[in-house]
Structures are given as C-alpha cells and as structure tokens.
C-alpha cells in the first residue's frame, strides 16, 4: 500500500469477526445471521449499492412478491445493524491467513464524492448534462455521469463515473453540501477477520455466446435482465415495449437453456433458475399484455422447488404455450422481427421458422468471482468454475480453506430461497469456526 493511494488518514484497520465478500442477498443474509448472534461483520461490495441481483429483479417466483419490496428491508436492516459495517464500491484484495485469522486489503474506489457529506439530494444528477446507458436498467434507459445508483440504493450516495465525466463542474456548483471532489483517489483499508464468507454471486452467460442466436446484435432479442426491467413496476419504460421501435409486442418467445447445458460453450451444467424465471416473466407479461401470445421453447421444464410445479401449472392454465423444441437459429427480418428456427421435439418433429416481435434468451449463470485468481487463501474453484465445496453433502458451505465459507450462487446456480438457506448454514459454520478456534473476542 502506498501512502499516495489513500485519500484520508482513515486507514485504521477494519477488524471484524466475520468478513462477508459480496452484498447480494446471500451476503446480506449471512451478515445478518452472524450479526444477530453478536458478531461484528464487514460486508464488502464491489458495486456502488448493496442488493446484488435481487434488487434488480421485477417480481420473484413463485410468490410474485415485488423484488424491491422484499429486498429493500433486508438491505436496510443490514445497513442499520449496529454490528454490521458495509463498504460499497470496494474491491477486496487477496485474502491471506495469518495465524488463526485472515487479513486482506480493501480498495475503496473513488466516488469523487465525500460519502460523509453527501445527503443524496440528487441535485448533482439533475445538473449533469452527460447521458450514459444505465447499467441498472441494462442499457434500456440512460443515467447521468454522476448519479445516485437507483431509487432504493443503499447507500444513497452519489457516484461519479470518471470515464464519462467531462469535468464541466455543473454538479459541483449544484451540490448544496459541496461534497464533490474531482481529485479524490482510491483508498486502501487493511482488514482482518476471524472467518470469511464468500458470497460473490454470479454473472450471466453472454448474449453472444451462441453465434446462431444473433451475436447480441439483434435489437429485439433481449437478455432476461432486460426483460426483468421491462416488467419492473418502476422499470425502464414503465411498460413493456420492444427496444427497436417502441412497439408493444404481440408475440414473445423465450429460448430456454440459451447458454447452459451445452458443453461446447463451457457450461455443461443446468443453471437452475432460468426455467422458473422464464415462466415467471411469461406470467407477468401475460398480465400486462393480455392479448399477447407467449411461447416458451424448452427441453425440460425444471420446476423442482417448493410450489414451483404448481406455479408452472398455473402458467399453463393462463395460456402460456410450452413448446418442446430446440432453437437452432435466430435471425431477423427487415423490421427487426426475430425469426426463430425451431426443431420440434414432439408433434411430428418438424423444423419451422416462427416470427415473433420480441425474443428473450434465457441465459444461464457463471461464477461471479474466481477464488483462485482473486487469491482467496486456499479456496479452490471446481471444474465448473464455482467455488469448490469438498464436503458437498453434509457441510455444503465449507471450502478448501478452513475458516472460509461460501453462500449463495458463488457455489453454483441457485434461486433466492436456496441462497438464503445457504446463507444461514454458512453463518452457522463461521460462528462454529470462531468458537472452536478461540476466536470469540477480537484482540
């Protein structure tokens, strides 16, 4: 660590019982479980807000609860918990074992905003003249170069995107607390912890992974996260429109296993949530577009969780078409209508080309972090790239490094409820580790 790389002298070590890497639902839940048992917890999140994938969803299967409504309170309870410290917009360096404890360094990226002084009033955002595609809306909308990440982000602190900033200074003029600092630098903070929980989550497989599906160049072939944002009550357009021309789609198709269960793409496994999110989105679409035809092209519908089979049955009853077919290719016509070439697996096994207005690729899950590349002590990755769990049956949250545990999709695709259950299990293993290694009190 070089002195010049720090903004302030606040480089006092963050010394905690449990370090949680990742502030998605699995990370927040494990932090809460440990904190409620009196442990000091630090949550490190790479993004400017906690909440992970879940805060970005529309509604969740199979309850159809609005995702914001059930994620926000978890985020807020973690943020207000006296035993939990949260560091967003921060990257964790390698984790090293030192005696019975772990050490690392956290690099807090410059927000170009004084976190303590920012009151979240959004004046800077209003003043900023630069529009950039909004990551939170998956490029369906625009944001400013300086902005509060999204309405229910935690913390409500502005963040400036230096890659797009023109240094015009309008935000600094608008800020009532004078907290914008164009010269701010990254800060490095040493961290020590008795136990670590990896909750580094997942990424989605690429839209371009399968060249037959248009290499991400067809405007009306969208990702499932774009579909989530179209369906979110406070989402990108506030309604369901297709990207190329803003038309209300009458015919929408889902392509299942688009990126999973395909060894040639390096993803031989099933991503476990895509069947269910497709069925959920189909139900939500049919709610907002009652006359639209919605088709799901699938090989197997994997509705294995509690209440999931019944959920799929109600989708069928609503008139969603389930067509057992392989999708060989997607191209588009002159009006950007996607044309899907299907090979039916039933009803005569014919090959057909079907035109839709909008197509969603049901992308799968990839690991959010590679523990070996990150240098997370002795934690190994498995052949599928996710964190290896050597005691997979009886202690599914143990990793190859004693004292480091894993929760949620960091250890393979999982839905929310399975991630939450995992988080409770991981927190208990971490606390047991602290007790049995005499790491009860901090030095």
């Amino acid at each position: 660590m070089t002195a010049s790389a720090t903004v302030s002298a606040s480089a006092a070590t963050l010394d905690v019982d449990v370090l949680v890497v990742g502030g998605g639902i699995a990370g927040l839940q494990s932090a809460l479980e440990a904190a409620e048992q009196g442990r000091k917890v630090l949550v490190v999140e790479r993004q400017p807000s906690i909440g992970g994938r879940m805060i970005n969803l529309s509604k969740v299967f199979p309850t159809l609860d609005c995702a914001s409504c059930i994620t926000t309170p978890r985020m807020a309870s973690a943020a207000h918990h006296p035993n939990i410290t949260i560091r967003t917009y921060s990257e964790l360096g390698p984790i090293r074992r030192e005696g019975p404890r772990f050490t690392s360094t956290l690099r807090q990226k410059a927000r170009y905003v004084d976190e303590a002084a920012c009151i979240g009033c959004k004046r800077c955002e209003e003043a900023c003249p630069v529009f950039v595609p909004d990551e939170y809306e998956h490029a369906l909308g625009a944001r400013k170069a300086i902005r509060i990440p999204f309405t229910n982000a935690i913390p409500q602190t502005a963040v400036l995107d230096m890659d797009h900033c023109t240094l015009c200074g309008l935000c600094a003029k608008a800020c009532p607390t004078d907290c914008i600092d164009f010269l701010q630098e990254d800060a490095e903070i040493p961290v020590t912890a008795g136990a670590v929980i990896l909750a580094t989550g997942h990424e989605l497989t690429s839209m371009a992974a399968k060249p037959e599906y248009g290499r991400a160049a067809l405007p009306n072939v969208i990702s499932p996260m774009q579909a989530e944002r179209l369906l979110a009550p406070h989402g990108a357009y506030g309604r369901v429109l297709r990207p190329s021309d803003g038309k209300i789609p009458d015919s929408i198709a889902y392509v299942q296993c688009a990126g999973s269960r395909d060894a040639s793409l390096g993803v031989p496994y099933c991503s476990r949530v895509c069947c269910m999110y497709a069925v959920k989105q189909a139900m939500l679409l049919s709610g907002s577009l009652p006359v639209a035809d919605i088709t799901i092209y699938y090989m197997d519908i994997r509705a294995f969780g509690k209440g999931y089979e019944q959920f799929v049955a109600s989708a069928r009853a609503m008139g969603i078409n389930f067509v057992k077919a392989k999708v060989a290719r997607i191209r588009e016509d002159a009006d950007h209508n996607p044309i899907v070439r299907i090979e039916r697996q039933e009803a005569g096994g014919t090959v057909e080309e079907v035109r839709h207005d909008l197509v969603v690729l049901s992308l799968g899950m990839l690991p959010g972090a590679d523990p070996e590349r990150e240098g997370f002590a002795g934690v190994l990755r498995d052949a599928d790239g996710f964190v290896r769990t050597p005691e997979a049956k009886l202690s599914p949250t143990l990793t190859d490094e004693p004292g480091i545990f894993v929760a949620g999709t960091a250890a393979g695709p999982k839905d929310i409820v399975d991630s939450i259950q995992d988080a409770g299990g991981a927190a208990m293993e971490a606390l047991r580790h602290l007790r049995s290694n005499g790491l009860e009190g901090r030095p």
Binding site: E33, Q37, G38, T63, C66, S68, C69, I70, T72, P73, R74, M75, A76, H80, T151, N152, I154, Q156, P233, H234, Y269, C270, R272, D300, I301, R302, A303, F304, G305, K306, G307, Q310, A313, Q345, E346, A347, D384, A392, K393, L394, P396, A411, G412, P413, I416, V417, D418, I420, Q421, D422, A423, G424, G425, A427, M428, E429, L431, R432, R435, S436
Partner: protein
C-alpha cells in the same frame, strides 16, 4: 370526499399531550401509485386533525424513506406515525424500528395497508381506490392518536433447543446449535440416529456411502457434550410457548426448551396396488431397488430375486406431479401435485450404476421432464445417456402401462420424442421412481397447531425470505418435513434453522409484542364471563371472594385474541394497543369519508 372540518370529533380528553401525527404514503414503486393517487392522498391526509406532516415517497421501506420519518420526528416533533403502504406482515417491524431510531416509542405507530387491500384489488377504479385509501388512512390516524406508548413483554428463555427427528437434518441442526452455544436435546422416535440416510446407498453426486456419512455425523453428535440424544423417544405433544416449551417424548420426563426445530423428515410414496403394476413381481420402488443394488453380485446381467434382468425400465414421477382429473387422489382427496425434486437425479444415478455393474442389462428411462438441476446432476444425466440409457418421454395423461400378454411383460409407452409413437418395451423389471410424501406427525403438529401448505408439507412463514421459520413463534423447520430436498439442501436448511434458534435464545430473554389483555380492576365485578370465553387456559383467573372478586391476567399465557373483551359486560377488559375506543373511532372515521 369530506374536507377537513367534517372529521368526527377526536374525542380525545383534555389531558392529551400535544399529539402530532406524521403520515407517509408509499408508492411501492408503482404497485400502489399506479392505482392510488398518492399525491392527493398525502394532501388530504395533511388536512386531517393532528396531522403535522404528510408525505409520499417511492419506497418508504428504503433507507431514504425511513430517514424521512426519523427526520420529521426530530424536526417537526412528530410523535405518532402512520405509514400507508403494503401488508403489515412485511414492514410493520421495519417502521417501528425507524420510530425507535428517531427516539419514539415504537408502538406509537399505525400501519395502513393500501396495497393488498386497495391498489391490488381495485385496479379498475382509481378514484374509488384513492377514496378507500383515505378512509383507511384516517382510521389509522384516529387509532394512533389514541395509542399509548407500550413496552414489549419480556419472557425469560430456556437456552436449550429441542430438535425433533434424528435424521441428517436433525443431526446437522443439533451440531450447529451446539456450535453456537446452545444446549440441545435431540429426540428420535426410532432406535438409531440417521433417519433415511443409511438406506440411500451411494448418494449423488459425490457417490459417498449414505451409511458412512450418517456414521460420521453421528460420531460428531455423540462427541458433543452439549447434545443429549434420546432414542426411542417419539414426541407426543408439546406444550408451552416460545422461550418455554415443554416437550413430552418417550418415557422420560418432559424436557424444557426455548425453541423447537422440527426435522421429522418424509415418507417415501407408497404406490397403490396396481399403480404402474405396483405390488406385482415385475415392479420395485426406487428406494427399495437402491437399497438392494449394492448387495447384488456384479456380472453382465443384473439378477433380481433369482431372475436375470435383460431389460430394466425406470418410470419417473410415480406419486409426484399428479394432475387432478388424471391421477387418483390420495387418502385425503388431494393429488400430489408437487415435484419430489430428488428422484430424477437419483434415477439416473441408479441407471448409470446398473450399466456400470451389469453392462449386459438394457436400461430404459420413461420421464416427463428430466430435472437434473443441481451441481453435478447434469453430468450424471449425461453419463447415464452416454452409457446407453434409452429415453422415452411420456405425457402426464398417457402414462406407461405394464402389459403382460404372452411370455414376456411389456411396458407400453406413448413416446413424445418419436412423435407419439406407441412403443412396446420388453421388460423384466420396472423401477418406480417414487417421490416423497409428507409425514404424519399428528400429535406433535396438533399440539402446537403447526401450519401445513396445500401440498401438506409443513409451511414456512414466507416461502422466499423466511424459509426455515414457521408462523409459530420459536418453532423452526429443517429438511424434508418442509418439502422434498437433497441431503446437502437439508443440511443447509438445518444450519439456517439453528441460526434462528440461536438468535432467539442466546440473549436469555425474548421480547414479545405487548398486545395482550389489560384489566381496569375498578370496573370488574367478578362475574367470570371472560373465563368461559377464553380458550387459553390459565390466562385469566378469578381471585377474592364476594364483592371483592376480581379477574387476574397471566401475561405469559394470554394470546391477545380479545374473546374476553367481547363478553365483558362492564368493559373492564381491553387489548393493549387495540382498544375498543380505538376501534370505535376508526369505524367513525371510515363512515365519515
């Protein structure tokens, strides 16, 4: 709609302190504001007596939303709060905590539900929805201005958890709870620990011996001095309540425990005689087949009960994913409409094992969907296919039938994959992939009124966010008592359940909502009508003689149901926080809109 002047008289006495209400209307990101005119609702609320601020906000539950409340308490002297948003089950606690952060008694709060009760059910008429919201908000204001500060009840808690069921989930829960510093009593009705794990043979996808895993875990359990194991101890009933349960099991004396973890497991589905040929010599269930498979001598052909098996078929979804009108109902008149989650992977693992040990046996697999969802599961499917399993896909309304004409039995399958061709497979043995059914834990479930879902498994408090809690305070769920799951999933759930128990019991004291009966002794004439109305024996008792006879309340037993309030002729009883005067004022406020 009525203007400010026409509100019913508040009826508050002279002595009331300066009541200053803050009203907050949540958009719920559009869930509410797409239907209810939230701006108008806030504006009209602001005009109501006692209201000093009324605001609307996109997400009241978010951090900045909660901060509005805290700021107004400090800046505007707000001392009563009404939030109009979603169901109280979701966020009442969230906002009570916000009041606390602002330095206010958390019970000076009223939660008004304008989502489930308004915007979601009156989508078509926005004006009427806004009017109804206003009525509910005004009722909430009237209630909260009559609200007294309350203190949470505190009951001391036994730092022991009773784990019911000694299978893998129960053992894991016991270990996790002991690891967190709790004492544990582990009740198992059978003569040994392990549940069904030792019978599973090799478990997917690690191929560990189930019996070995079970032994390892049992050794760990036995080495923990904090865990007391009681075998042959079927739990007959559970009395008491959170913090102080009393568990009666086996021959021993009742055990006092602060919390319960229910890990009573599942039963394998037992096919009805004749269902896919069940009961005859040609069929066997998957669990029975797996338990026997490793003991059979290896050789080119599988031999079953002395017969060489040249052709072996598996049928998926036996007793699972049943459809009303197609499948015969179960004893209670319902079908098993759920997926049993584990049987697809277990079947394919078994198919692969047969092909490895008996390469001469041909294996057919008749399925509806292949659900090899978990880590390492798809690879088992891929290997079973590569090693020669032939797949046939059947529809739920055209299940395979076993026909025995001529010398050899045949399985007749209408195969979706070959465009509904009917194929006759010669078979020597058919393995029925039977799933899981909920267990009858009658007395235990009844004595604590444990909730069950439509699928008859025990029902968690919230299927997404609170997967290991029951609605019953202090009772948690681990493993397949809740739903079908694998060994690893059951172990994760067991850890999560133990975590909840530890959070509850480690402080040694439990806080409960104070909404229980409050007595005005000067009004009580000792008639005793309330005792007859009360269903929670011991909550109310009579003491004293003659004219001095009075009722007394045991706060630890009262559930706050209010049955006594309704029958008391002298209005001597009330529920704290839910007073009759509050209800009357609420009704008047609603009628006035």
């Amino acid at each position: 709609m009525n203007g400010p002047g026409t509100a019913p008289d508040s009826g508050l006495g002279e002595e009331t302190e300066d009541v200053r209400v803050g009203v907050y209307v949540c958009h719920c990101g559009g869930n509410i504001s797409d239907v209810v005119d939230v701006k108008e609702l806030a504006a009209l609320s602001a005009e109501y007596p006692h209201v000093v601020v009324a605001k609307d906000y996109p997400f009241m539950c978010s951090d900045p939303g909660q901060a509005l409340i805290v700021e107004d308490i400090k800046a505007h002297g707000v001392n009563r709060v009404v939030v109009a948003s979603c169901a109280p089950a979701l966020h009442e606690q969230t906002f009570r905590r916000a009041l606390q952060r602002g330095g206010l008694n958390p019970y000076l709060y009223e939660h008004v539900n304008i989502r489930e009760q308004v915007s979601w059910v009156h989508k078509a008429d926005h004006a009427a929805a806004t009017r109804k919201s206003l009525a509910l908000v005004r009722a909430g204001i009237e209630k909260v201005v009559r609200q007294d500060p309350l203190e949470a009840l505190r009951v001391s808690a036994e730092r022991r958890v009773a784990v019911i069921g000694g299978g893998v989930a129960g053992m894991k829960a016991a270990l996790a709870a002991a690891g967190a510093g709790l004492a544990v009593t582990l009740f198992e009705k059978g003569p040994a620990l392990g549940g069904r794990l030792p019978e599973l043979g090799r478990v997917f996808p690690t191929e560990d011996e189930g019996a070995a895993l079970s032994r390892r875990m049992e050794e760990e359990v036995r080495s923990q001095p904090a865990i007391e194991v009681r075998l042959g101890a079927e739990v007959r009933r559970v009395d008491g309540f959170v913090g102080r349960f009393s568990v009666e099991a086996g021959d021993g004396p009742p055990v006092k425990a602060g919390a319960l973890i229910v890990a009573t497991g599942y039963d394998p589905y037992a096919p009805a005689p004749g269902e896919f040929g069940a009961g005859g010599p040609l069929t066997v269930t998957l669990p029975e087949f797996r338990a026997a498979l490793e003991g059979l001598t290896e050789g080119p052909l599988l031999t079953w009960k002395g017969r060489p098996i040249r052709d072996l078929a598996f049928i998926h979804c036996v007793g699972s994913r049943q459809v009303e009108g197609i499948h015969a109902p179960q004893a209670d008149g319902k079908v098993n409409d759920y997926c049993s989650r584990v049987c697809c992977t277990a079947t394919l693992q078994t198919a692969e094992r047969v092909l490895d040990r008996h390469p001469g046996t041909r294996v057919y697999d008749c399925y509806r969907d292949i659900r090899t969802y978990g880590r390492g599961h798809e690879a088992i499917y891929e290997r079973a296919a590569r090693k020669g399993t032939l797949f046939f896909r059947y529809r739920e309304d055209a299940p395979p039938t076993l026909v025995e004409e001529g010398g050899r039995a045949r399985l007749r399958v209408k195969d979706v994959l070959t465009w509904d061709t009917e194929v006759d497979l010669p078979v020597d043995l058919v393995v029925l992939a039977t799933g899981m059914v909920p267990r009858d834990i009658g007395a235990l479930a009844d004595s604590q009124k444990l909730p069950r879902g439509a699928d008859r498994f025990l029902q968690e408090a919230h299927p997404k966010l609170r997967p290991v809690e029951l609605a019953n305070n202090g009772i948690f769920l681990a493993g397949t008592a809740q739903a079908p799951m694998t060994v690893d999933e059951a172990c994760a759930a067991a850890g999560a359940a133990a975590s909840k128990a530890a959070q509850l019991l480690l402080p040694g004291e439990i806080q409960l909502d104070p909404f229980i009966v409050a007595l005005k002794p000067e009004r009580c004439d000792g008639c005793g009508a309330c005792l007859d109305a009360c269903s929670y024996t011991g909550s109310l008792t009579l003491s004293g003689e003659g004219p001095g006879r009075r009722v007394e309340v045991n706060p630890a037993l009262c559930k706050g149901c209010g049955a006594c309030v309704a029958v008391c002729p002298t209005r001597a009883l009330d529920i704290a926080g839910w007073g009759l005067d509050q209800f009357e004022a609420m009704a008047d406020a609603i009628a006035a809109v």
